[in-house]
C-alpha cells in the first residue's frame, strides 16, 4: 500500500500543511491551557492586561478546537477524500486558500482575543470580521469537498465521507445563525438576539459544535484510519448507517441541556434532556463499530501505538457519551452544572477521544506524507502512555473537585442556613486544581515527544514525488466496503 501511495497523483501538500499547522496550534493551545490551569491554582500567574485568565481561556479553547482539532480534520479529510474518491482534490487553489486562510484566521483569533475583542459567546468569541472570513474559508472547503465528490471515480461513498459531509453542512448552518450580529465598529458588534433567545441559539450552536467539530469529523477520521491501520474492514456497514443517521438527527435537539434550570421554557429543557438520553445509543453504536473492528486484531493493538490511541480514544468516547446523558438529568445537573465536573467531562472527551484520535491520525499520515517510516515507534508508545496518564491525572481531580464543590454549595445547617461561604468552596478545590496541572504537564510532554518524533521523521523523509499518471484504487477500500 505504501508503494502505491508513493506515486500518488493526489494533492498531499495541503495535507502536509494542515498536519504541521495542527501540531503547532496543538502545542500552543495546550501550553495556553496549562497556563490557564496554573492561574486557577496560583493566581499570581495572571499578568497584566493581556495574560490574565479571562482573556487566556478563550485563546485556549479556540486554539485547540479550531487550530488543532480542525487542522487534523482538514488534513485527514483531504487525505481520505482523495483516496476514497480516487481523484485529486477539485481545486488546488481552493486547497491553498483553505490552508492559508484558515491559519490566518487562527492567528487573528489569538491576537484579537488577547487584545480583548470577544463576544463572550463560548466557542463563538470571535468578532464579526473574523467570523465573516471564517464563513468564506468554510465555504471554500465545502466547494472543494463537494467538487471532489462530484468528480469521483468510485461510485460508492464510504461512511467516513458521510460524517465529513454532515460536518461541512452543520457547521456552516450553526456558524451563520449563531454569529448573526450588527456591527458597532470594526471590532465590536451586538448579537442579533438578546437574553433568553440568545442563550437558546448559542447553546444550540455550542452543543452542536461539540457534536459536529469534536464528534462527527473525528468519527470520520476513525472510520477512515482505524480500519486501515488495523488491516480489517469496519465491523458493520449496517451499524454505520444506523448510527450515522440517528446521531446527526438527535444531536441537534440536545442543546438545551446546557440551560437546565434556566429561564428557558420548560418544554425546551425537557426536549434537551430527553434527546440527550437517546444520544447514548448512536454514540455507543459508533464506539462499538470502531472497537469491534479490532476484534481478531487485539494482538496488534498490544504492540501498535497507533491502534492503542484509536482504541483508548474510542473508550473515552464511550465514557464521555455515557457521562454526558447522565449530566443532562435534572437531578445530576443541579449538582454538576457550573462546577469542575463539566470541565472533567469536557476533557475526557477532548483529551481522550479527540486528542488521542487526532494523534493516531497524525502518526498514520505523517510517515506516508514524507514517504518514509515513523522515526520511532517507541517514542510514539511513550507519547501514548504520557497522554493516557495525563488524562487520568486531569479528569479524576476534576470529578472529585466538581462533586466536592457542588455538595458544599448546597450543604445546609440543621437550621436551614448555608454551611459554607463561597470562598470556603474555592479554597477546598485548590488542591485539585494543582493536581490537574500535573496532568496537563504530562499530556503536554507527550505532545513535545510527538513534535520531536515528527521532526525526525520529516527530516529523514522527502515530500518530493515523481508526478504519476493514474489514481490507484485505495488498497483496502474494496475490503472495507465489503464489510457488513
Amino acid at each position: 500500500m505504501q508503494e502505491a501511495e508513493a506515486q500518488s497523483p493526489y494533492d498531499m501538500a495541503v495535507v502536509r500543511g494542515f498536519a504541521l499547522s495542527a501540531l503547532v496550534w496543538g502545542t500552543v493551545g495546550m501550553l495556553v491551557g496549562l497556563l490557564a490551569a496554573i492561574q486557577l491554582a496560583w493566581p499570581e500567574w495572571n499578568v497584566g492586561p493581556y495574560l490574565h485568565f479571562g482573556r487566556i481561556r478563550p485563546v485556549h479553547t479556540n486554539a485547540v478546537i479550531f487550530g488543532f482539532t480542525l487542522g487534523v480534520v482538514f488534513a485527514g479529510s483531504y487525505y481520505g477524500i482523495q483516496r476514497l474518491c480516487r481523484v485529486r482534490m477539485f481545486s488546488d487553489t481552493l486547497s491553498r486558500i483553505n490552508l492559508w486562510g484558515w491559519n490566518a484566521i487562527i492567528v487573528a483569533a489569538a491576537v484579537s482575543l488577547l487584545s480583548g475583542y470577544s463576544t463572550s459567546k463560548e466557542y463563538a468569541e470571535l468578532e464579526w470580521p473574523i467570523d465573516l472570513a471564517l464563513a468564506v474559508v468554510w465555504i471554500v472547503y465545502a466547494v472543494n469537498v463537494f467538487g471532489t465528490i462530484a468528480r469521483r471515480r468510485e461510485r460508492a461513498l464510504y461512511a467516513a465521507i458521510w460524517f465529513w459531509i454532515a460536518t461541512v453542512l452543520t457547521i456552516a448552518m450553526l456558524h451563520v445563525v449563531n454569529s448573526a450580529a450588527w456591527p458597532v465598529s470594526w471590532m465590536k458588534s451586538y448579537s442579533a438576539y438578546a437574553g433568553i433567545y440568545d442563550a437558546n441559539i448559542q447553546w444550540w450552536y455550542g452543543h452542536n459544535a461539540v457534536g459536529f467539530l469534536l464528534t462527527t469529523p473525528i468519527l470520520g477520521l476513525m472510520y477512515y484510519f482505524l480500519p486501515r491501520q488495523a488491516g480489517r474492514p469496519i465491523f458493520s456497514h449496517r451499524l454505520s448507517i444506523l448510527h450515522f443517521w440517528s446521531l446527526i438527527f438527535i444531536y441537534i435537539w440536545a442543546g438545551p441541556h446546557h440551560l437546565i434550570y434556566s429561564p428557558l421554557p420548560d418544554w425546551a429543557q425537557t426536549f434537551g434532556a430527553a434527546f440527550s438520553i437517546m444520544l447514548i445509543f448512536p454514540s455507543w453504536g459508533g464506539m462499538l463499530n470502531g472497537l469491534l473492528t479490532l476484534r481478531g486484531a487485539w494482538h496488534k493493538v498490544r504492540t501498535d501505538p497507533i491502534l492503542k490511541m484509536f482504541a483508548v480514544g474510542l473508550t473515552f468516547y464511550g465514557m464521555s457519551t455515557f457521562e454526558g446523558p447522565m449530566m443532562a438529568l435534572r437531578t445530576v445537573n443541579s449538582l454538576s452544572h457550573f462546577t469542575n465536573w463539566t470541565i472533567g467531562h469536557v476533557h475526557s472527551g477532548a483529551l481522550g477521544w479527540v486528542g488521542l484520535t487526532c494523534f493516531g491520525t497524525l502518526y498514520y499520515m505523517i510517515p506516508r506524507l514524507w514517504h518514509t517510516e515513523l522515526y520511532s515507534r517507541r517514542l510514539a508508545d511513550v507519547h501514548f502512555w504520557l497522554a493516557t496518564l495525563g488524562i487520568v491525572l486531569y479528569i479524576t481531580p476534576m470529578w472529585v473537585s466538581g462533586v466536592t464543590q457542588g455538595l458544599m454549595w448546597r450543604a445546609a445547617n440543621p437550621d436551614g442556613s448555608l454551611t459554607y461561604t463561597f470562598i470556603e468552596t474555592v479554597a477546598a478545590i485548590q488542591v485539585y486544581d494543582a493536581i490537574r496541572v500535573s496532568g496537563g504537564v504530562l499530556y503536554l510532554t507527550g505532545m513535545f515527544v510527538m513534535l520531536y518524533n515528527v521532526w525526525r521523521t520529516v527530516a529523514q523523509g522527502t515530500s518530493e514525488v515523481p508526478e504519476p499518471s493514474r489514481t490507484p484504487p485505495d488498497a483496502e477500500l474494496s475490503a472495507v466496503a465489503g464489510g457488513q
Partner: protein
Amino acid sequence: MAFDWHRPLESDSLRLTLWTALAIAIGGIVLLIPPFFMQGTAEPLPGMRPYSALEQEGRDLYLSEGCSTCHSQQIRPLKSETDRYGGYSLAGESVYDRPFLFGSRRTGPDLARVGGKYPDSWHWIHFDDPRRIEPRSNMPDFAFMARRPLDLSLTSRRLEVLKFLGHPYSELEIENAVADAEAQMAAVAASIRKDGLTLDETAARSETIALIAYLQRLGKMTEER
C-alpha cells in the same frame, strides 16, 4: 438484503447531502423558532429600563476581560442558590442583554444580583487586588483597568445600534450619551472618594468606574439609578 434502501444514498451524493441537511435542520427549527412567537417567553419586567450609557460601556468591558469565564449570571430556582444569591433569574431580566451572560462555569460567585451588595469603594479595592479583600481568592487583579481612561468615542454609536435592535432608547438619550456617561462616572468616583479612597484624574475616569457602574446595576433592572 435489509439495508438495500440505503444503497442509492451511498452512490448519489446529492441525495445523501439533501437527506443530511433535512436531518440536521429539524431539531433546530423546532427548538429555535417557536420561542420567538410564543407569548411571554421573555417580556421586560414592568418599569424596566435598558442600561445607561456608562453601564453599557461597563458591560462591554466585562465581555472584553472575559469575566463570564468565571462568573455566571443565572440564579437557578434551587433553595441553596436563592439563599446564597437572591431570587432566581427571570427571562424578562435579560431582555436587554446582548449577548446573554448566563455563563457555564462558577469559579467565582454568581453575579446576577450583585448590584448594591457592596459599596462602589469595595469594588474599587477588589479590582485593584482581590486578595486584599479575600486572601484565598483566585480572581485575577484588574489594577490595569484603573489606569486606562474609558474610551467614550463609541458610546452613542453603541446605544444607536442597540436602539436599532429594539432597545427603547430615546433620541435624546443617544444624543446625550457621552455627557450622561460623564455625569454617572463623576457620581461613582464621588462615592468612592467619600469612603476615603484617593482617585487621581485618570482613575476617576477609568474603565474600572464603568465596570463598577455596570455591576451595581445587576439585579436592579427596574430601579432608577
